[in-house]
Each structure stands twice: as structure tokens, then as C-alpha cells.
């Protein structure tokens, strides 16, 4: 048992999957700990769904190994795997009632009738579907269908639950509610979730670990905070919304800080992280909300302070997005800044106005590729 607990719930070793003309999954390695929510995040076509389907057994791996609790399951057919999948379009059986949908897997497992009734009853209760048991799934609302799909898998108590963007089809408000719901359910049942999504907001909200995937490879695997605050690569930075990306080189290092000179001639200060050496750093990125925008340029120049002119303003409700061109640069550089709607009024700035922007050194995060 001790041994069991130390093994990762899922381990993927050197996984490769090729489709005609494209390598969908290209030598992936990852480990998923017991009881965590692990998100595989990436744009469509990056291979995340293929990886998930290989875990479910619906696709076969071309190379590499997939292990669940230390056991290689490459050749185990999907119906003998101890993991279940919640499909993107839910795939509820239209010819069965809610109750029959929930009982489907249990019946196959030769669970005694009384036990099935009990567990289905509990699941109806847990998923707040009381009174719906004899309805057909088409008669349910989107949120209820979602819960039936989730319940149908959870009732089997799998070691691993695979989720293929099950929230993608819901409207914004319901999606937010279901995020909270999913997190609650996961905490309560303690089952490991392997969640595939292209929505970085959902991933940040529900995950314990996020793996960002791009063109069949993993770009970065880390906690949500780490992924958001210190994206390792340009791609991750861009995907996580750190849209101000400045390619550049390190020119000085010391005292816990590093100085970079960007290709456009800006001198940017960032915190030095010990793990990296100067050579691997290829640039720096800044999240738009880390940038302060000041109406008038102060005389004293501090670190990461530049003058510019507002060229665009987009009102977004909770914040205002400013597009600012930096003045007197070799190359045109534009910066995006988000102004918190509570702190600054929309009308305190106008397009064409000259402003000074500034951010703290911990706002700039170094990139490695």
C-alpha cells in the first residue's frame, strides 16, 4: 500500500502518436499525482485530446508507455481500464433514462442489483438529480446533462477520471458555476482528474498542476501560479495572456537582479532566478495588469519606466485595455496595459495622450525559448 501511494496515479513515458501527415503527440513524458487535478492545456490541434484518448484506450500509442499506478496499460482494452472519460459532447445514451445512464457501467461490472440501486441513488443525490431519474437525457438542461455525464463515470469509482473539455459547450455563467462544482466534486470524491482544455481560465481555476502543450510537445508543467506568473517560454507566456513579450539578451547580472536589453533597445530589469543561466534567457514578458500607467512623466527615471503614447483603448467592463506605443525607439514597440476599473476611471486617459508606463522588477518574467 505504501508503495502504491508513492507511485504516480498516471505516468506517461515517451509517448508518440502519429497520424497521416502529422505527429499528434511527440515524445511526451508526464506524471500525475494521486488525487490532483491535472490539466493539459493547449490550443486546438496540439495533441491534448489525442493524449487523453490514448489514456482512455480509444487510441493506441505508436511508441512509449502509459502506466496507471505503475502498471503498463498500453494493451488493455478501454472496457477493462480503471479510468473513465467524460466526453466533450457528453455522449449520454439518448435511449436511456438518467437512471439507466448512471447504472450502465455498474450493470456491466456485475454489481448486484441492490448495490446498483444504492449507488445510483447516492449518485443522484450527490449530483442533485433527485426526481430526474426516469427522465430521458434530452429533457434535461445543459447543467443537468453535465452532471449525469459526470455521475455516470464517477459512480464506477475509477482511479482516474478523464475530462475532455466538458464545460466548453456551456454558456459563460453556467461554465463558472460548473467549475466550482467540479472542484467541489473532485475534493469530495478524491479521484484524480485529468482535464483537457483550451481555456486557460478554466485550467487556472480548477487545476493543481497545468501542463501546457504545443504541437505535440509539453512546453511547461507547473502549478497554475507558476505557469501564470513565470511562463517559461514565449508560447506559454502568450497563451497565459502575458502579451507583452520582449525578445532580448542578458547584459548584466548581480544582486538578485538581471538586466536585459531587448531587440528594440529597452533596458528591462527582472528578478534573477537561480536555476537559469544567462545564455538560455531569450527574453522577458510582462502581464498587462502588472503595468502601471501614469498620466505625466515623472522626472526621475526608475527601473522599467518608459514613455509612450496611447494609441488604442478598449473598454472591457472590469478593466480597460490600453495599447501604448513607446516613444523614440529603434523599432516600433507597443505595450498592452490593463487598468483596473476600480482604480482608474476610463475618462482619465484618452487616445493620443502621452503617458509613462512602469512596472516592478518582479513583474517581468524571463523567457527561455
Amino acid at each position: 500500500m505504501q508503495e502504491q501511494a508513492r507511485l504516480p496515479c498516471v505516468e506517461i513515458r515517451n509517448l508518440v502518436k502519429k497520424f497521416p501527415g502529422v505527429i499528434a503527440v511527440n515524445h511526451i513524458n508526464l506524471k500525475v499525482k494521486h488525487g490532483e487535478v491535472f490539466s493539459l492545456l493547449g490550443p486546438s490541434g496540439c495533441g491534448k485530446t489525442t493524449t487523453l484518448r490514448i489514456l482512455a484506450g480509444l487510441e493506441t500509442a505508436d511508441e512509449g508507455e502509459v502506466l496507471i499506478e505503475g502498471e503498463v496499460i498500453n494493451d488493455v482494452p478501454p472496457y477493462r481500464r480503471d479510468c473513465n472519460l467524460v466526453f466533450q459532447n457528453l455522449a449520454l445514451f439518448p435511449h436511456m433514462t438518467v437512471e439507466e445512464n448512471l447504472a450502465y457501467g455498474l450493470e456491466r461490472k456485475r454489481v448486484p442489483k441492490s448495490e446498483i440501486r444504492k449507488r445510483v441513488g447516492e449518485m443522484l443525490e450527490f449530483m442533485q438529480l433527485n426526481g430526474m431519474e426516469s427522465r430521458y437525457t434530452v429533457q434535461l438542461s445543459g447543467g443537468q446533462q453535465q452532471r449525469v455525464a459526470l455521475g455516470r463515470s464517477l459512480v464506477l469509482k475509477p482511479k482516474l477520471l478523464l475530462l475532455d473539455e466538458p464545460l466548453a459547450a456551456l454558456d459563460r455563467k453556467l461554465r463558472k458555476d460548473m467549475q466550482v462544482e467540479l472542484k467541489r466534486i473532485q475534493k469530495e470524491v478524491g479521484i484524480t482528474f485529468f482535464y483537457v482544455t483550451h481555456d486557460q481560465k478554466v485550467a487556472l481555476a480548477i487545476s493543481d498542476t497545468i501542463a501546457v502543450m504545443r504541437e505535440g510537445k509539453l512546453e511547461q508543467v507547473a502549478s497554475p501560479e507558476e505557469i501564470y506568473d513565470t511562463p517559461r517560454t514565449r508560447f506559454v507566456a502568450d497563451f497565459m495572456g502575458a502579451t507583452n513579450i520582449f525578445p532580448g539578451k542578458v547584459i548584466a547580472r548581480g544582486g538578485g537582479e538581471i538586466q536585459l536589453e531587448t531587440e528594440s533597445g529597452l533596458k528591462i530589469v527582472a528578478l534573477a532566478d537561480k536555476a537559469s543561466n544567462n545564455k538560455t534567457i531569450t527574453g522577458v514578458c510582462v502581464h498587462p495588469e502588472r503595468i502601471n500607467v501614469l498620466p505625466t512623466g515623472p522626472d526621475v527615471e526608475t527601473e522599467n519606466q518608459f514613455n509612450g503614447r496611447i494609441v488604442g483603448m478598449i473598454y472591457q467592463g472590469d478593466f480597460v485595455e490600453l495599447k501604448i506605443h513607446l516613444l523614440s525607439r529603434k523599432k516600433d514597440v507597443s505595450v498592452t496595459a490593463h487598468l483596473d476599473a476600480r482604480l482608474s476611471r476610463k475618462d482619465s486617459f484618452a487616445v493620443g495622450q502621452e503617458v509613462t508606463i512602469q512596472w516592478d522588477r518582479d513583474g517581468s518574467s524571463t523567457l527561455h525559448g
Partner: protein, 291 residues
């Protein structure tokens, strides 16, 4: 006439429905009406019709020596066998094409349908050429020395049923193909994922979801087979009497329109009942698959 379809705007329905209703009234309901009317006219054994209305014809069919009861039972039996064999051959065929046809799907379907584009009569004669004597199959077997004298394969009940199956099989394949093809592949994956073996998956997901196709195909094969008279006439050679033959015989050979009409009414009633049952059991899906 003004009809409100849940909106405030009155819809003038007659101009839109007029021509087609007229067509249906003229060519569907009117002939049926005439047949029903004929069936109640008293007629003597020579077929001479006298005025009045009576149930004499129906009484004769029930008690007389027309053998219509036997013919109906035989028709139902043959149609049932035809239907079951078509289902037995058609389901795997349709399933296989839908699942594993890949890029040949269209071609395979075409091959299934193509024969039914040629004239029904031509196909029956082709079949006769194949299995009759002189015929290709007999010549072939004789030539090989497998048999010493030609086998009589025509003019038996088996031959009639075989002919019916041959003629009506494509109409079973198509609706089943459509319903199997229409099943969301994610449902099949979901059942595997939830622990169903491929066999169990077929039994609990594929089969229930293609029920509409099965009943649709049943409507399209059982009913024409039930009323068929050309196959028993040409392949059965006046030895195997089905209901359709008897009706045709009374109308054309005996010229007894009244008896023939009452036979036709009974057969039509049976067909209507069967369609109703198929739709009841197969659901709306069955209707959708054949329309």
C-alpha cells in the same frame, strides 16, 4: 379556410395544400373508396354484380371454398420469412458498410441499390434464367457432372420465398444503413469506456439505436412481400398462391370484381394494421428512415 399555426397571422392553407390534396384524393383515396364500395356489392359466382349492399362477399371469403384464408396465411408466412431473412442478411451488410466501408461506402451502397433500379420484372426473369432449366446454374452443374439431371428449382414455395428475398433485400439494407450510420460514434466509445465489451456495446447501444432502421426496413420489405403477386406468378408458376395472386386472379381471370375487391380490402386492412404496429414499436424513427 383560415388556420392559425400558433401565430397571429392567418395562413391560407388551401392554396398551398390544394394541388397535392387533390392529387392524393384522386389517385389514392378515390380508388380505395371504389374498391371498398365494390367489396360490398352482392355478386353471383359468375361475377355478375347486382344492386344493393351486403356482406355476402366477406362471408364467402370466410366460409366458402375460395382458399383466400389459406392464401392470406401463406402470404403472411412468406412475407414474415422474407422479412426475417432480409433482416438477417441486411443488418450485417448495412452494419458492415456503415462501420467498415470507409471510403468505399458510397460504392458499396450503390452496389446494393443498383439492381433495384432495373425493372422488377426484368430481375424476376433474370432470376429465372439463373436457376431455371435451361438455366445457367443447372447447365453449370450438369457440365461439372455434379448432377446428372437438371434440378427443378423453380415453381416451389422455396423458390417463391427466395425470389421475394432477392427482390426486396435492398429495401432492408438502406434504412438500417441510415440508422447505423447516424449513431454518434462518441456513444459507442462511451459504452466501451464504461466497461462494455464490443458485444455488449452492440446489444445495449447499437441495436437499440438502430431500431428505427429495423422497423423502417420491415415496413419496406414485409408489406410489399405480403402483397406481391408477380413473384409467385412467375416463379411460383400458378402453383404457389399468395393473396396477391388470388386477387389478381379474381379481377382479371374470373372477372369477379366484387370478390376481388373484398379480398383487396382485407389485405389492405392487414397492411395498415402492420404499419401501425411497426410505427408503434419502432417509434417515429421508423417513419423517418423510410420517408
Amino acid at each position: 379556410m383560415k388556420i392559425f399555426f400558433g401565430t397571429k397571422a392567418p395562413v391560407r392553407i388551401l392554396p398551398t395544400l390544394g394541388p397535392i390534396s387533390l392529387w392524393i384524393a384522386l389517385f389514392v383515396f378515390a380508388p380505395v373508396g371504389v374498391i371498398i364500395y365494390f367489396s360490398f356489392l352482392p355478386a353471383d359466382s359468375a361475377g355478375e354484380i347486382s344492386a344493393g349492399v351486403s356482406l355476402k362477399n366477406y362471408w364467402l371469403l370466410l366460409t366458402g371454398d375460395t382458399d383466400y384464408g389459406k392464401a392470406i396465411l401463406r402470404s403472411v408466412l412468406y412475407a414474415f420469412i422474407t422479412n426475417m431473412v432480409c433482416l438477417g442478411i441486411g443488418y450485417p451488410t448495412a452494419y458492415w458498410i456503415a462501420r467498415y466501408g470507409g471510403r468505399f461506402k458510397a460504392l458499396l451502397l450503390f452496389l446494393v441499390i443498383a439492381p433495384s433500379w432495373s425493372c422488377y420484372l426484368v430481375r424476376i426473369y433474370a432470376l429465372k434464367q439463373l436457376v431455371g432449366y435451361p438455366g445457367i446454374l443447372n447447365d453449370f452443374l450438369l457440365h461439372l457432372g455434379v448432377i446428372s439431371s437438371p434440378i427443378n428449382m423453380l415453381y416451389t414455395s422455396t423458390a417463391v420465398v427466395f425470389g421475394l428475398i432477392y427482390i426486396w433485400l435492398p429495401f432492408m439494407v438502406l434504412p438500417i444503413y441510415a440508422s447505423v450510420e447516424g449513431i454518434n460514434p462518441a456513444l459507442l466509445e462511451a459504452s466501451l469506456d464504461l466497461g462494455a465489451s464490443p458485444g455488449w456495446q452492440f446489444w445495449t447501444v447499437t441495436l437499440p439505436l438502430s431500431k428505427g432502421g429495423i422497423f423502417g426496413g420491415t415496413i419496406l420489405t414485409f408489406i410489399p412481400a405480403l402483397g406481391d403477386w408477380l413473384v409467385p406468378l412467375l416463379i411460383g408458376g400458378n402453383k404457389v398462391w399468395m393473396a396477391g395472386n388470388l386477387i389478381q386472379h379474381y379481377f382479371i381471370v374470373r372477372g369477379n370484381l366484387a370478390i376481388g375487391s373484398s379480398m383487396a380490402v382485407i389485405l389492405t386492412a392487414a397492411v395498415v394494421l402492420l404499419i401501425y404496429m411497426c410505427i408503434k414499436l419502432g417509434g417515429e424513427d421508423a417513419v423517418e428512415r423510410i420517408v
